[in-house]
Assembly symmetry: D2
Homo-oligomer: 440 residues x 4
């Protein structure tokens, strides 16, 4: 295998170990970012006079050529190389000769790999944030359509009080909004350029990390070379944000599964988003929701994995960190596809309004309001609560009887008018705020 080191090595690397340590396959998605980073690095080295103009021109021209080919799928890492950086240098050398190794001046793989990783992460965070937003938009549209649909709100999975279906859908809108803000926050953490930190100590060459940062579109260069070569906070932050977003998705998934049961019957997934059974011909299963709920486990597992990897690592770079990328890649793929799948399943689903209405007409859902009426009539709260409790068991107090006819499901929903409440008017105002949130 071609390597970027080996002057001291008499013996060939063990094949078992080469296989175990190779990262070329998982690095592939970093290729365009590695070329970008090398390009900016050469440009900066040329500006400060470390690489002469002619060499720089040749290197930049060829790096650009390679970038275009990669973008057009005409060039992809292959062959026997340790990682994408080795492949890039080897490919470059095959085109420009020995000056290719100049790209290694004033930097190391330690700073380069994490520069690539951060560049990829920034793009990915923008993409994920858009995926969240698309899902929010779908929920918003569904909420707009179902503002006056009444369903039972639940606590402890017991029917509690009637709410607008739009209110229920918007609850997920706001969870996703917090997720989106966390992704944006993670972007800021990621937006620091490590290039020039070298192996751990920076360089004796007159490099200008601020300039490299600027060329690559980072908000700033690193503060401390020892820190930045082994700083994976941005990856942990992403995994934590991804795990929590998946947890939110898993809650909606749980409800899709519940609502799709014959017993609840509040919802029907489209045939395009259901699965049958190889044995039981009658089945329509809510597999998309089950898969999303299940894959939440893997993203939580990835977060666990990376925290454990970093725990107890001395400064600075240690090879343990190599698995940060496959871990984050897997979590990002799962998050992105889960958001898309859940959004698709929801968008095409049919709500069964009559089933919801029937369930919401359960008189138990008015018990709170009944107690409130008693309080308004002068009975202390604790006593009102007790009287209504007894009424639910069939023992109705004289003071309760006249109030019973004053209450309807409709009045119970309509009566909740304050900010954030489940009533139609309040939800209409909430919808306005939700819409505005997406404009920002």
């Amino acid at each position: 295998m071609a390597k970027l080191w080996g002057g001291r090595y008499a013996v060939k690397t063990s094949a078992v170990f080469e296989r175990y340590s190779n990262s070329l396959a998982s690095d592939t998605r970093l290729t365009p970012y590695d070329l970008k980073a090398c390009t900016a690095h050469v440009q900066m080295l040329s500006e400060v006079g470390v690489i002469n103009e002619e060499d720089a021109r040749k290197l930049l021209h060829t790096l650009n050529e390679m970038s275009v080919q990669v973008e057009n799928d005409e060039l992809t890492p292959s062959g026997n190389h340790e990682d994408v950086h080795s492949w890039v240098e080897a490919e470059l050398a095959s085109r420009v000769g020995p000056i290719a190794s100049s790209i290694r001046i004033g930097r190391s793989r330690n700073d380069l790999v994490v520069t690539d990783f951060r560049l990829w992460m920034k793009d990915e965070l923008l993409y994920q944030q858009e995926a969240v937003k698309r899902f929010q938009q779908i929920l918003l549209t569904l909420a707009e359509r179902n503002l006056e649909v009444v369903m039972p709100g639940y606590t402890h999975l017991q029917r509690a009080q009637p709410v607008s279906l739009a209110h229920h859908l918007l609850a997920y809108f706001w969870m996703l909004e917090r997720d989106r803000q966390r992704l944006i926050q993670c972007y800021r953490t990621t937006d620091v350029c490590p290039l020039g930190a070298g192996a751990l100590a920076g360089s004796t060459w007159p490099i200008r990390p601020e300039r490299t940062a600027e060329l690559l579109g980072f908000a700033s260069a690193f503060e401390n070379s020892l820190d930045v070569v082994s700083d994976r906070d941005f990856a942990v932050e992403f995994l934590a944000a991804a795990a929590l977003c998946m947890v939110h998705c898993s809650r909606l998934a749980e409800e899709i599964i519940l609502w799709s049961t014959t017993e609840f019957g509040f919802m029907r997934l489209s045939d395009a988003w259901s699965t049958g059974s190889s044995l039981m011909p009658q089945k329509k299963n809510p597999d998309p929701a089950e898969l999303v709920r299940g894959r939440t486990g893997s993203v939580i597992g990835h977060l666990m994995a990376l925290l454990t990897v970093i725990k107890g690592l001395p400064l600075a770079y240690n090879r343990d960190l190599q698995d940060d990328k496959p871990t984050v890649f897997a979590a990002a793929d799962t998050l992105g596809s889960s958001l898309e799948v859940l959004a698709g399943a929801m968008e095409s689903a049919q709500f069964q309004n009559e089933k919801m209405a029937a369930a919401a007409s359960d008189p138990g859902l008015l018990a709170t309001d009944l107690a409130d009426l008693l309080v308004r009539s002068g009975v202390p709260f604790a006593e009102s609560h007790e009287l209504v409790g007894r009424h639910c068991e069939g023992d109705t107090d004289e003071r309760v009887k006249p109030l019973l006819e004053q209450l309807t499901t409709a009045s119970a929903v309509e009566g909740r008018t304050h900010r954030g409440a489940a009533g139609f008017k309040a939800v209409a105002a909430q919808l306005d705020r939700a819409r505005n949130t997406l404009l920002v």
Copy 2:
């Protein structure tokens, strides 16, 4: 046991279940916050006319009386109550009679408990953020004192290149700075008032959640009652930030342990921060660092616990969430004390500068700079790297020989002058930026 419900219940609650579900002990630290929340709620109910002036005056006066007693340790939750909220109402009732239950008008335990929790969390986040800052200040002072102390920088725990000890210490300063920013960010997530969301749907009383939020010093009221009663994002965010901060602490702990070995010998903990052995009289063990490293595991475990609890929960409140508080309390206690312990151990430790200097004078640490000199003399980078590799194995090329005397450890450190590098001048500038960071 006195309960806030039970009108429908004929049978006594099982004693086993009462023990299992009781949260009074762990709730104790919420007591002042529960009183604050009740106070604001009563004040708002009085302003909108739901509680009449006289009742309100009596309730507010007594709640204030209780708050003062709690603050002075003259009153503490006790007796047979399900939780702190039941105790507060019972205590209030013992002082003002049946109107005590008016505090339950227009809210539920579901919104109250998470209001208490958020109020506590906000205070705790300020405290934790200060603890991080104190630790940063200590690292900064140590860095200032050790700017010109040279030590080997490591990668893969192999000596790599010489660095300033200050640079090494500042690497942790920046990790902690990111931790501090995450705590501040988490404060913003927490700063939303749930009171008035009720059990899940808000209330038919003319309550004003915005006013309650204002009275309690929250930045805003909730957007969606269904969401906010089961939203624990702030707790997950805190646990994620705490886990990552502990991971950073565990990295420093690992280095304290390594540096305290006879083999490294770079550091001696003060006797006040070491432990002996019951068997081996010669021992001075770096137990504070080992305990911090170990307790990192428990905080990661708490994060895993809460994510798992929330995963798959349908809307809205489910009792599964009860353990959010003990989990967060334990993590917060561990984080706060670990920061204090690690700061104390570092502050009183002695660096062994001569041992560091001796290790840093290892000629291998100059290999990179030697290769750089060869590159400056016109040898391509790849070839230079190879020649120096061979030189390390005793096979010194003619082109290498004349360069050997041009290099010293001092020049290697001094030569790294760019932003973020390990050289003295660069670190001095970094110190300035670090100092300014703490001023904000």
Copy 3:
């Protein structure tokens, strides 16, 4: 604070650090085991002549005296001691003078603490195993009572095929049986005595670890002193078994919650095992099940915590391990109480047989059997599956029509007669096997 070390120490230990490292409170439950271990150790030392007969007699008498007092709650660790071992020695010294420190001959705290821990763990494993068995017994009794109750079996939470309620209950019986076997297996892993391993290397005294092991009722003594002082495999095994057992409990909890909904209506928890709402008078919530499901998260978290603590620890003992005990204690307490709570809730619950029967009479549940009839009549399986699928959508093939009346829910359950199947006869045989399993 009184310590078992300090000859080399000029400076007082920091109070902050003392608080952070103290384990006396959590050690309390180890007290009887520490006394047992000290007793066996002294006995062995006396037998091999290291402690003279008179001293041995005095020490053994006093250790026994203390054990009795501890058992009778007349003596409990208190005061300013690092841990339970320091307290035991101090208490002993207060009764017998300087010879008390002879208990430290030929051992260290490193081997003592893990001896105590294993002794406790063995008792706890027996207790947990019994708790599992009691729960199995309750499920068995419920299954016996409900053999001929028919309910829908579910996959994907969609009604699938009719099953006996007993079959459903027994599914949990077998999960618990595997849990019980894991606890028994863990007992074997735990049943190794570490006493005499000393700090890490054993002792130059002529001790006989095999004898100490025998006196303490362990199956064997340690093989390797370096290994055994930091071996916590037994604790990890227990946490893994506990986590999986809690996961099983959480599955049953999920079903209790589902079945208690108005929508399913298959089950009613007794009032003694339900909770009401402080706001909504109509509520009866399945809180025991929700709490069990939630606490599963904390046990999984404890497992993660300990694995993370041990990961990357060099040999032999490191102080990181101190938190193994609080972690295992917390998990054991949660497991034991959760088993008791879930068993209690199930035992007193009422199944709603008519609701189950009604749901089981859903004709979709016979689709598989309908397809099977078609196959028996000569239609290939794939085509039969397709024809019945279309029939479910209202498009009934001529070949299907005559078969419809041949099928009933009862025949569908009765027809499943092979080993392990859901039919009455098969379940009766299964009940026999389950009963026999508990006899072992």
Copy 4:
């Protein structure tokens, strides 16, 4: 896409969802097991007369043909199929026509997939157990070679007492032995055949699950169809065993990393098992050990993932479980390769005996024995400990002085003779026990 269901479906499945739910790629390694399971199922169906002799002969012949082709890499799943089961049936149908679907009689994908999974797991467990054994053999050989090499034993990473290098190596032998026993135990848990459980309830066909189990070499058939279709205990057990084995590997990896430092200098990895730096020509890094230590995180993460997936799932099969296989496959691959890599690195490493001996000659390592001598001379243990502690600080008591010359490193090691101790004689006996252990 060709599917095993769809009679009820009018609309095409969404392409996004098809991609998300497809498991064909990760199922590939199950192909031979799926063919085995189908073969045994057809054989049993034929024996009980459900499939006629001619059809059975044709099906068995063709399934065997396919098996041979798969084994010879002439046939591999491909094309647009949901999973390996769909592909097998389609491939079979292309060879034998409509009777292919007879393989679906009396079973479902739910029982088939977990039969395949268990068959694979059993083979994998044998392989992993052998991999552990090979590693144990290497440690045993190294221990035999290094019986009389003395090194410092450590606690808290502080030098504690001298030990035989063989003793240190054997500590890992015993950890691995416990791992091996856990894998064997897991084999027993896995050795139950689910085939015939169908979707959840078994079948109305006269199938004989005991016979299928026998044909497939399982120790027994399932007890309860509802349980077995969603029982993944064997997978969790494997992940827990794998995680703990990786934790043990990570401990050895940590020591390889420490011992390879210039500061310790106890060990040199072979060049074939080291890595250089792209920047620093002098570097030889212990990357195999770092990678093993890091990958431990991912296996812990996989365990976390699966526990979270199963938590809270109602009976019986839910699609969440689909990710059990990729999770277990990834963990198994990591475990197997990590064992091989660590064994290879250790086998070819060079111990630096002189560096170890020099470190072991540190007089502090004799402090315990010095205190023991004082005790033998009649000084109480506590006082002896104190006197030696002061001696370490340069304050030597008159009673201590004459004892100093009685102690040497050699005598300290030789003097530890009891079972499990670190002395040469004790370790020789331990080696015998270790050898015998591997014979079983």
